[in-house]
Symmetry: C2
Subunit: 458 residues, 2 copies
């Protein structure tokens, strides 16, 4: 594959495409991280797995080795889980074995100071080997059966994650796969003793398997390079990014979390906003945004139609849309006429927002016809639907989404328990679903904003 | 009971405390609104219920009458569901019968213009009777077995709702009761031909059964009076308010929805912000805010401790808290020492946010000890906990919440299906739970802001 922009990517391949993996510090012990990783690799069905354990001959039924150098045949990737004081020695053994990628899950290299860390990186690089971590959760790549710690699905997709927080990547992959998102790769970079988040951002930008990128950043040691890379990547695919540590208190927390230099707020704001990054500010926002980008086309403009059963939330949603920079245009006379034929006159409205009122409780199928009608309107670019859910509604949505080439988002209202099933069904079937109309509106607004950026860029 | 502030409230009592109710336009027909209301009253166990139907002798097994004047004995409250052209006649019959409260559910009084509406109000008032609606869902009052259309629980509590949107009140009561909130009264005011939302706001403000008020406003016909009432009410209890129709497009939608005059944005902003109202901007925000006010004490200050398993979201939550005006203070040496005895050193942090990292996956009970420790710190006013949930975690929270007198909020992270049960359990047991840390932070910030207002006020 031709690189989309210049860069040296082959050095990172062993992290995503290893044929064989050693887990140094693998364990049988209940409640041990060494057991968690072993279990995940076995669940994922990874084949050439070598547990390294100084005392046991077997870990979870798999033959173990005392040292990585005892393993017969090659080892492409090593996960290191041993205590901080032993990491440097393990790195040396890994390079002696010819390992090309090392992931240090352990929180530190050496018990104090940075000397052992520097030495580990020097040794690795000299041997043509790169290091991820320390203090990370490693790499998730379903195509090559590389698992992740919370155990997301192992079906490969085209959403990539690069994260300076392990748990961010963990939660996103776990919740995402439960809701129908499939991932190409996820990288938890940790404290970045060698490879940085920006290296992986560049890698994912260039990766033909990755269509959308999610990123969690706390800081960078090279703002200039990040600026350059981020501009290159946003030119070819959407980057949904959460910058944490933006306040002074957050910066202090970031330093304590991953040792990041979180930097000055206004420099980050300038960098990210200038680069066309889609900025989010919570896990929920990241997922909300992802659901829209994952399944919906970009809108041709910013004109939205709102279709609602409940009337009040529809009025509030108009405010939300307008405040987000969307337009809520009036409908044409012809459309209103057509609507009047579909919905009863009792307490309804054929304006925009279309207020279906009670008619949806009595006939939830009415949604399908109304969506189809509005989505085929020339002066409507996208459709937001508000509903209490239910079997008929879900069927209607499932039918119309196949025929519409305009972005659609659904907000379900009701007790969590009673809408959780519909929520999951919609997401798994390519309809972004939200638990509040304001969040559906925000997600469509992100699509519209990115569409403008993509237009200008080309 | 002594009125908390002056006002004539006895005229509104028949709407909440009727001994007998007539449903004019009650029906057996499937998919009819007249059936929906009948079913709800029967489910609620309301005793003296009189269906009025011009053709049937029985509705759902209850003796029906052709006219309300045929009912033996008195009728306190009438719900009117007949077509618009018949409403005025029904109102006249109601007053002849001596009814003291009429709720017009029907979208309009008369098919065109406002003449019949004005006449209906004149006739009613002359007879000492008041009217709610048209275009509303009526009254929910569990203490007196008055049901609501989505069928919320019938256990009485102390949260009141006044809403110009029926669906807002509907959703709030439905979702609220599913999540452990109990209501005193909810009023859907509709198009306010006679009684206005402000009348009910005043009533709820004076109602000893109501401790917290939720309000949805689109507009008002008397801004001066609203300003006066809202200031009186916020002096004695928290008012969580969503003002819709704040943008020009939203105003247009409000007019089409309830005929409200939504008014100019800056006038509303001034009125609401000056009155110490807690302003929310979506259904989700309203519920989020309610959950905190419903079960938590007011904090003594704005210093928050964040306790998290996942590290990344904790850093982001610090930003969120600071941006919301909360303080995230450092911990004392003594607290850090005490924390070090509870949590392992592997990848954790004993700063604020406390990063429990992997230790929570391996030992979710650790949360309980850490919360207890921080909640007893003098320099901490409230505690926000971030977790993946699970049995041990829930047990730990359930234990500590009994001993803490500081506000606590929990954010659960994970796929909706797997956390829905924990979410519900926490809410039903007096712990405000959120699906994102940012929302938990926002809710605690609302409490802290109201605490300052309450302090200044007294």
């Amino acid at each position: 594959m031709r690189a989309r922009f210049p860069g040296n990517f082959s050095q990172l391949d062993p992290f995503f495409k290893p044929n064989s993996v050693a887990i140094v510090g693998a364990s049988d012990g209940k409640g041990k991280v060494g057991r968690l990783f072993m279990e995940r690799f076995l669940e994922a069905g990874f084949q050439k797995l070598y547990p390294i354990n100084t005392r046991e001959a077997e870990v979870l039924g798999i033959s173990a080795y005392k040292k990585i150098t005892d393993v017969p045949g090659t080892v492409d990737l090593a996960l290191v889980l041993v205590p901080p004081k032993s990491v440097l020695d393990v790195v040396k053994e890994c390079t002696a074995k010819g390992v090309k990628g090392i992931v240090v899950v352990t929180a530190k290299i050496g018990e104090e100071g940075v000397e052992q860390e520097h030495e580990a990186v020097r040794v690795a690089r000299e041997a043509g080997c790169r290091v991820v971590g320390p203090n990370c959760l490693g790499i998730y790549c379903p195509e090559f059966r590389l698992p992740f710690s919370l155990g997301p699905g192992m079906e490969a997709g085209d959403v990539g994650i690069v994260s300076q927080s392990g748990s961010f990547a963990d939660i996103l992959t776990k919740v995402g796969t439960a809701h129908g998102v499939k991932f190409s790769k996820a990288i938890s970079c940790g404290n970045e003793c060698d490879l940085h988040a920006v290296d992986f951002l560049e890698y994912l930008g260039n990766d033909p398997e990755t269509r959308i990128i999610l990123a969690y950043f706390e800081g960078t040691k090279d703002g200039h390079r990040l600026n350059q890379v981020i501009r290159e990547v946003t030119r070819v695919k959407p980057v949904i990014l959460w910058k944490c540590g933006i306040t002074p208190e957050g910066r202090r927390a970031a330093t304590s979390h991953t040792g990041s230099l979180a930097g000055v707020r206004r420099i980050w704001e300038g960098l990210l906003n200038g680069a066309g990054v889609i900025r989010v500010h919570s896990i929920e926002e990241t997922l909300d945004c992802l659901y829209a980008f994952n399944s919906q086309p970009l809108p041709k403009g910013r004109r939205i139609a709102i279709i609602s059963g409940p009337g009040g939330p529809a009025v509030g949603t108009v405010d939300t849309c307008v405040n987000l920079g969307l337009e809520v245009p009036g409908l044409t006379m012809a459309t209103k006429e057509a609507l009047r034929k579909i919905i009863p006159s009792f307490g309804t409205s054929v304006e925009n927002p279309v207020d279906l009122s009670f008619s949806t409780i009595l006939n939830p199928g009415v949604y399908g016809e109304v969506i189809q009608l509005l989505a085929s309107e020339e002066h409507i670019d996208m459709v937001l639907v508000i509903s209490y859910g239910g079997e008929h509604f879900i069927k209607a949505i499932d039918r119309v989404r196949r025929y519409s080439n305009k972005p659609l988002a659904v907000s379900l209202l009701g007790p969590l328990e009673s809408i959780a099933g519909d929520f999951k069904f919609l997401l798994q079937n390519g309809v972004p679903a939200y638990l509040d109309p304001a969040r559906a509106a925000k997600s469509l607004a992100w699509l519209a904003r990115y569409a403008v950026f993509a237009e200008v860029r080309t």
